[in-house]
C-alpha cells in the first residue's frame, strides 16, 4: 500500500501540474481569461515595478545628462550634419508629386480624426521570451480599456491586452499573436501584418501577382475598428516570390523602435463616423 505521508511531496507536485494543465487548457479553449488573477498580481507588482523603473530612469538620466555630455561636441556636429542631410531629403521629397499626394491625404486624415489620446510611460518589458509585451503606467482608472490602440509618433506600437487600475499590458505588433490589417501605401494592396516574436513582422495574404517591393511603406487600413486608418505601420524590407503558392512572403520592419520605447500614446476614443 502506498504511504501517502511519505509521498506527499510527489502528490503536491502532481496536484500543481494538474492545476496548471487545467488553467492552460481553459485559457487556450477560451473558456477562462484569468482577468481577476491578472488584476490582483498587477496591483501587487506594479508599485515595486514603478519604483524600480524610477531608480533606473534616474540613473539613466544622470548618465545621459552628465557623463555622456563629454561627447556633446562631436554629437552636436553629427546631429548638424544629420539635420542638413534630412533637410535636403525633405526638399527633394517635397517636389515629388507622389509625396505631395501622400501629404495631402495625411493632412486630410489628421483633420478628420479627432481622437482622444493619453500619453503613458513604459515601466516594464515582458519577462517571457514567448510573448512580446510591455507594461505602461496607465490603467482603467485613466480610461484605458482592453483593445485600445497604442501608438508613438513613429507609428503603431500595439494594443491594450490587459488592464489593472494603474497599469496595463500592451501586446506589441511584433508578438506572434498580433495581426493588423494594413495597406501598401503606394499600390493600396491589402494584407495582414503578423508578428514574428523578434524585431520583424510578416505581411501575409498578399497575392503573388500584386506589385510590392522592398522600401514600400505600410499604413493601417482602418478595418477591424481598432486602429484608425493611415497610421504608419512599417516598411517592406524583403519580398520573396516562390515558384508555387498563392501568396508572396513579405518581411516588414515596424516603424516603431521597440528597443527604445519610453513613452507611448493610448488612443482612448476614435471619433464616431461623421463626427469632427
Amino acid at each position: 500500500m502506498v504511504d501517502l505521508r511519505r509521498r506527499r511531496g510527489t502528490l503536491f507536485i502532481v496536484i500543481l501540474i494538474v492545476c496548471a494543465i487545467i488553467l492552460v487548457s481553459l485559457q487556450l479553449s477560451g473558456r477562462y481569461e484569468g482577468n481577476p488573477l491578472h488584476t490582483l498580481v498587477l496591483r501587487v507588482i506594479s508599485p515595486p515595478q514603478r519604483a524600480f523603473h524610477w531608480v533606473i530612469a534616474s540613473i539613466r538620466s544622470v548618465l545621459q545628462n552628465h557623463i555622456v555630455l563629454v561627447d556633446l561636441k562631436q554629437e552636436n556636429l553629427r546631429l548638424q550634419e544629420e539635420v542638413h542631410r534630412l533637410q535636403r531629403e525633405k526638399d527633394e521629397l517635397r517636389e515629388s508629386s507622389y509625396v505631395a499626394e501622400r501629404l495631402r491625404r495625411l493632412l486630410q486624415f489628421k483633420a478628420r480624426v479627432q481622437a482622444t489620446m493619453i500619453p503613458a510611460e513604459v515601466i516594464a518589458y515582458s519577462p517571457s521570451a514567448w510573448f512580446r509585451t510591455i507594461v505602461i503606467n496607465k490603467g482603467f482608472r485613466d480610461g484605458v480599456q482592453k483593445g485600445m490602440p497604442v501608438v508613438t509618433w513613429e507609428g503603431v506600437v500595439g494594443k491594450v491586452m490587459r488592464t489593472s487600475s494603474g497599469s496595463s499590458i500592451i501586446l506589441l505588433v511584433v508578438d506572434r499573436n498580433s495581426s493588423i490589417d494594413v495597406l501598401v501605401q503606394r499600390t493600396r494592396t491589402r494584407g495582414l501584418v503578423e508578428g514574428e516574436g523578434g524585431s520583424r513582422c510578416q505581411l501575409r495574404y498578399v497575392p503573388r501577382t500584386d506589385d510590392i517591393e522592398a522600401g514600400d511603406h505600410l499604413i493601417t487600413s482602418g478595418l477591424g475598428g481598432i486602429f484608425p486608418k493611415g497610421l504608419s505601420m512599417g516598411d517592406v524590407v524583403r519580398v520573396e516570390r516562390k515558384e508555387y503558392g498563392l501568396f508572396q512572403e513579405v518581411e516588414v520592419r515596424p516603424s516603431a523602435d521597440f528597443s527604445r520605447l519610453e513613452e507611448v500614446i493610448v488612443i482612448l476614443r476614435l471619433p464616431e463616423k461623421g463626427e469632427g
Binding site: 503536491f12 494543465i21 498587477l42 515601466i123 506572434r176
Partner: protein, 180 residues
C-alpha cells in the same frame, strides 16, 4: 513562513529587476528567463513541496507579467524544478558549473514544453526552424545570465536555511554539504 517568503521574495525581486532592465537589450534577442535560473537554483536546495510550490507561484507571476496564457510557465517551471531536483539528488552535485549546465538543459525542457503546449492549443503558427533558432538563442541568453543570478541568489536562501529544518533531504534532519 520565512522559509517560503524569503526565496519567493528573492524570485519576485529578480523578476521585477529583469522586467525593468530587459528594455536595454537589443530587440532581436530573446529576453533571458530569470525565473528559470531561480527555479533551478531552488532545485538544488529545497524539498519537493516547498520548491515545487515556489516554482509554481513564480511561474504564475511570470505568466501574468508577460500577459500570456496563465499556467504555461507555472507548469513548465514546476517540471523544470522536479527535473533539476531529481538530477541533483541522483548525481549529487551542486557546484556552479553543474548549475549552469542545468540551466541549459532546463531551458531546453522549458522551451520545448511551452512550445508543445502552445502548438497543441493552436496559439502559435510558426515554422519549426524559426522556433528552434528562437529556443536556442533564449537558452544561450539565459545561460549567460545564470552565473550572476546564482552568485547573488544564495544570500537569500542561506537566510532561509537558518530559518529551519530539512532543506534538501525530505524526512532527514541533516542538511546537504555545500560545494560537492
Amino acid at each position: 513562513m520565512l522559509r517560503v517568503l524569503v526565496p519567493l521574495g528573492a524570485g519576485v525581486i529578480w523578476l521585477i529587476v529583469a522586467t525593468a532592465l530587459l528594455g536595454f537589450l537589443p530587440s532581436n534577442l530573446p529576453p533571458p528567463d530569470v525565473v528559470l535560473i531561480v527555479v533551478i537554483s531552488f532545485g538544488f536546495q529545497f524539498t519537493l513541496p516547498l520548491g515545487g510550490g515556489l516554482a509554481f507561484l513564480l511561474g504564475i507571476i511570470q505568466d501574468v507579467l508577460s500577459g500570456g496564457v496563465i499556467g504555461l510557465n507555472a507548469l513548465s517551471k514546476t517540471v523544470v524544478f522536479v527535473l533539476t531536483r531529481s538530477i541533483a539528488q541522483r548525481f549529487y552535485f551542486s557546484n556552479i558549473a553543474s548549475k549552469i549546465t542545468m540551466v541549459f538543459v532546463g531551458g531546453i525542457v522549458d522551451g520545448l514544453l511551452v512550445t508543445c503546449l502552445l502548438l497543441i492549443g493552436g496559439a502559435i503558427h510558426i515554422p519549426g526552424g524559426v522556433l528552434a533558432r528562437h529556443l536556442l538563442l533564449q537558452v544561450i541568453c539565459t545561460g549567460l545570465l545564470s552565473p550572476i543570478v546564482f552568485v547573488i541568489t544564495p544570500q537569500a536562501t542561506d537566510f532561509s536555511e537558518r530559518g529551519g529544518g530539512d532543506i534538501f533531504h525530505y524526512g532527514k534532519t541533516k542538511t546537504r554539504p555545500r560545494g560537492i
